[in-house]
């Protein structure tokens, strides 16, 4: 069940005691017809720890409005999608409410044993002690305006000797585009002419720190893994089950990347189509944490 509250009509919406309210800041892409996918995702998360209360705000006074509603409803959490605009609001709200703030969260659940909300990020899980918490949720990467540069990219899709050819690299480039990231290559692949020099990653070059590093056909020598140490999530695809990179990866696939990558592209396209606004989709009921 979802309660929608429009502050402009606040007087038509008297405060009702709600069980475990969780404020959800609506995405600016929402309109009167349908909710933006980002908002739906927040609502899904919110349901895991309480009753969602959707808040639509005017961004000029956003912080004040959220603070006002929070003081009325005393929510246990306030979920906000991370973005440049929203981050300022999140900070203001946290400071004014003296509530814990957890950022770049990918998942949350309620831990019955501890009687606390736990927020999950790539490399940490945070238990929240304060009554209210401001939780900024990582936004799924949508179409970027232009391909990011390797040193700054959030997503890097890289290939090595195992790719076998320049054609294989064009496949990797497509995957990079689908994930909103940029193409990378090991020094070997660069020397073999399969990828341009500026895409090469190795220890003598600059370190990269993407959120996601997807490696295809990269065996993963210690020198290469030193260069990608800053990556928060590593996915590796290699035909050799003993490739060192599979030990370093968070998720590994042993198989032929020339068949897996096209399948990956298909699956990504299928999910993207399924989640565009206007299409019906059922957000699956989350399991109990």
């Amino acid at each position: 069940m979802c309660r929608v509250c429009r502050p402009r009509a606040a007087d038509m919406c008297p405060p009702m005691p709600l069980v475990d309210p969780v404020l959800v800041l609506a995405d600016e892409a929402d309109d009167d017809v349908a909710l933006a996918p980002a908002t739906c995702e927040l609502l899904t998360l919110a349901r895991r720890v309480g009753t969602p209360v959707l808040v639509h705000c005017d961004h000029c006074r956003g912080a004040e409005e959220v603070i006002g509603i929070a003081r009325d409803h005393l929510p246990r959490a306030i979920l906000i999608t991370s973005s440049a605009m929203n981050d300022r609001i999140s900070a203001q709200v946290a400071v004014r409410l003296e509530s814990a703030i957890v950022t770049d969260v990918t998942d949350i659940y309620f831990d019955r044993g501890l009687d606390r909300i736990v927020a999950i990020s790539d490399r940490s899980s945070t238990e929240i002690h304060t009554h209210t918490a401001v939780i900024t949720v990582r936004s799924r990467i949508h179409e970027p305006k232009r391909e990011p540069l390797l040193p700054e990219a959030d997503v890097v899709v890289a290939g090595g000797r195992g790719v076998g050819s320049a054609e294989g690299f064009s496949l990797l480039a497509q995957v990079a585009r689908a994930l909103g990231g940029c193409l990378g290559a090991t020094r070997t692949a660069g020397e073999l002419g399969w990828a341009p020099r500026h895409a090469c990653i190795n220890l003598p070059g600059a370190q990269i720190r993407p959120r996601l590093y997807l490696a295809g056909g990269v065996s993963g020598s210690v020198r290469h893994s030193a260069a990608i140490r800053g990556a928060r999530t590593v996915v590796a695809i290699d035909s050799d089950p003993n490739a060192p990179i599979l030990r370093e990866a968070d998720f590994g696939i042993v198989g032929d990347l020339h068949r897996i990558l096209p399948a990956l592209l298909d699956e990504l396209a299928a999910r993207a189509a399924a989640s565009t606004p206007g299409s019906t989709s059922t957000t699956p009921e989350p399991a109990e944490a």
Binding site: P204, S221, V222
Partner: protein, 709 residues
């Protein structure tokens, strides 16, 4: 008679005057340098022996047989023919002068003439060499490329002049009857025979002309010598006497300032770290530069120069020498006013940066400084014991620690060393991964609460960073562990107690970080009571045995090939399987040249049935570096061709099934090289690169059907 005496003495006075002025000037430049480290003036015995063997016996020169023999002839000629100079001066005063006691002995006359002929033959050889190996013909690959060729030819010409004027004088002397030697002086007798038809008067005149010409040429030569690279004839014995013994390889010295070791925790106000200007070098360094003969033997061996990089050890030393000479007026000026009064060019020289882009007036270009792999091939060859590697590292120390100017790629390696204790930043917990899955348990210090290494453990196995973190090197560690287990040798590893020995930091010039790592390791090793240590990495080997004593760490360090060779010789390890492989062996610089360990790896290969070893053209002391030394493993190679590929080609030239080495970095570089050549279709698919220990292991394993790794 009187006339010639006056002329002779006058010439002498002029020449000595000119020469002395020059020598005094050079001496004053030498005094500008810092005092040296205290070891330079100790161990008189070994220094005297070095002078005997390298100067008198021409040991290093004779490594190149033809040129060496010719040089020995000319060198000894100079010494022996000193007698003729004595005879010449004597004859100015008294026409029939002869050296007291032995001055008429047949053997002396014969010896003198023999060496006149020998010197002339030497000159022919030298000329032939210079023509055949001229830079005009061979370009960069000539060892004379960059040397002052005109000056060199002038020197040869002058020596020739000394010889023929001497023969002229002696021939005329025979014909006028004043020659001391009745028999034996065969060449002079031939000259006399040639001059005889001219008649007595002519010979009389020629005898005077000859003696003055002969002495004049010698004096002229003296002045030439002190004003050219030929000064080495006087300086070389001193340079050799004061060089590092037994050789300027192996350990690097700590940072010294004004003759005292710099304490990085409490540095003096005026401490100079490394070399930032020419006057920061010690007097020995300046002596090194002045002694250089421009022979180019170093240049011919340098892996950087031979792969198209701008670094040539010879050109480096010559550049520093020329800069010292050019900056001398600036440095010797005793006040700011005097400096301001100097000509423009001399003042400008004073403002040049020692290390900086040549386009901006720098003396040594950064590309030159950072291309060095510290392999020591230059030091090995130098006939006058110049210490190129020490000077390069000292310049690097200033660049890294004072200017913070160094290839930024190495920053990552330094940060990983600082934060995680290994160059790849994996962290100490990862150091135990290599031992997993071995058919026995590797004993780790501290597992059972040990406070010091148990009595029954014979060796501490220092695995090293590469040995525990690099996939290729881990195979070596495992092989060695299995072999030691097989031989019943009890060993233990420190596991996460190890931190990087710091070799790369020191070669890069980051002495502060090196000392922190070294002190940490020495503390650990001393605490656990380490006595005997076995290592697989040649760099760890060098640092632990030669450099850790500088920090109070004295251990008996043995390389794994030495230990395994001994175990095979004692029968503890029995290689039985016939491997039927064509093999070649690459001498790692830090094992071979720096530490003289050449035989043990070959003994191991020799003990394995079916291994056919073919040496590469450049092997043992002349081994060509793999390219990873000098911290270059962590830098990009952007200039010229790849050192590792060059060495790989040399290895592949022996048509091996297996390329072996005894150091993990060599193995990484050669493996990369072979993989690249395979991709280019220039190497057979079956060629592999492994450590020597793996070969031994394969021959020992009881079931030949063991799966390959």
């Amino acid at each position: 008679m009187l006339v010639r005496l006056i002329i002779g003495l006058a010439m002498t006075a002029v020449a000595f005057g000119l020469a002395s002025r020059r020598i005094l000037h050079l001496y004053r430049i030498g005094r500008l340098g810092q005092p040296t480290d205290p070891e330079r003036t100790k161990a008189a015995g070994s220094r005297a022996w070095a002078v005997l063997s390298e100067v008198l016996a021409q040991r290093k020169l004779l490594k190149w047989t033809v040129a060496g023999a010719a040089h020995a002839a000319v060198f000894w000629g100079f010494l022996i023919l000193g007698a003729t100079i004595l005879e010449g001066y004597g004859a100015l005063f008294q026409r029939d002068f002869h050296i007291p006691l032995i001055g008429t002995d047949t053997w002396l006359g014969f010896l003198e003439d023999l060496f006149v002929v020998a010197v002339l033959c030497g000159l022919v050889v030298f000329s032939a060499l210079r023509i055949r190996q001229s830079p005009e013909r061979l370009g960069r690959s000539s060892r004379f490329s960059g040397s002052h060729l005109g000056a060199a030819w002038l020197v040869l010409f002058m020596i020739f002049n000394v010889m023929w004027t001497l023969l002229l004088y002696r021939g005329a002397q025979i014909n006028t009857g004043y020659f001391p030697y009745a028999h034996g002086a065969f060449a002079s007798e031939i000259a006399a025979h040639v001059l005889h038809p001219l008649g007595h008067t002519a010979n009389d005149v020629l005898e005077t002309v000859g003696i003055l010409a002969s002495l004049g040429v010698v004096l002229g030569f003296l002045v030439l010598v002190v004003n050219s690279k030929h000064l080495h004839i006087f300086l070389a014995p001193f340079n050799i006497a004061f060089s590092r013994r037994p050789r300027a390889l192996g350990a690097l010295l700590p940072v010294y300032s004004a003759g005292k070791e710099v304490d990085f925790e409490d540095p003096g106000e005026d401490d100079r770290i490394g070399r930032g200007a020419i006057e920061d070098f010690t007097w020995k360094g300046l002596l090194d530069f002045a002694t250089c003969t421009e022979c180019g033997r170093c240049q011919s061996q340098c892996p950087a120069w031979n792969t198209g990089k701008p670094l040539s050890p010879k050109l480096l030393i010559m550049g520093l020498r020329d800069h010292a000479l050019a900056k001398a007026p600036y440095l010797l000026a005793d006040s700011d006013d005097a400096r301001a009064a100097l000509p423009e060019a001399e003042r400008a020289e004073g403002e040049r940066a020692l290390v900086g882009p040549v386009a901006d007036g720098g003396v040594i270009d950064p590309d030159v400084l950072w291309s060095c792999v510290t392999c020591g091939a230059c030091v090995e060859q130098c006939p006058v014991d110049i210490e190129h590697v020490d000077h390069i590292v000292d310049m690097r120390r200033y660049q890294v620690m004072i200017e913070s100017e160094f290839p930024h790629e190495a920053q990552g390696m330094l940060r990983n060393l600082e934060r995680k204790g290994d160059p790849w930043g994996r962290g100490s917990k990862a150091r135990l991964e290599w031992a997993r899955g071995l058919p026995f348990d590797v004993r780790v210090f501290g597992e059972n609460g040990e406070e010091s290494i148990p009595e029954d453990v014979e060796y501490l196995f220092w695995v090293g960073c590469a040995g525990s973190l690099d996939d290729n090197a881990k195979r070596t560690s495992r092989s060695v562990a299995e072999l030691l287990h097989e031989a019943g040798v009890e060993f233990m590893i420190l596991g996460s107690g190890e931190t990087c020995t710091g070799d790369a930091a020191r070669r890069l010039g980051q002495e502060l970080l090196f000392q922190e790592l070294a002190k940490q390791n020495v503390e650990t090793l001393n605490e656990v009571g380490a006595r005997k240590i076995v290592v697989t990495c040649a760099h760890c080997f060098n640092t632990l045995s030669n450099e850790y004593p500088q920090f109070g760490g004295n251990y008996e360090v043995v390389h794994h090939t030495e230990l395994l060779a001994r175990l095979v010789a004692e029968g503890e390890l029995r290689p039985v399987n016939d491997l039927n492989l064509a093999v070649t062996y690459h001498d790692p610089c830090y094992l071979g040249r720096h530490n003289r360990v050449f035989s043990p790896p070959r003994e191991i290969l020799g003990s394995v049935p079916g291994v056919r070893l073919t040496e590469m053209p450049r092997n043992k002391e002349r081994s060509f570096c793999c390219g990873a030394g000098g911290a270059r493993m962590w830098m990009e190679e952007t200039i010229g061709s790849r050192i590792n590929e060059t060495r790989t080609d040399e290895a592949l030239g022996t048509e091996p099934d297996l390329v072996t080495a005894a150091c993990p970095y060599c193995i990484v570089m050669l493996t990369d090289g072979v993989a690249t050549r395979k991709q280019q279709g220039r190497a057979a698919e079956n060629v592999r690169v492994t450590d020597v220990s793996e070969v031994l292991l394969r021959s020992i394993r009881k079931a030949p059907g063991d799966a390959d790794e």
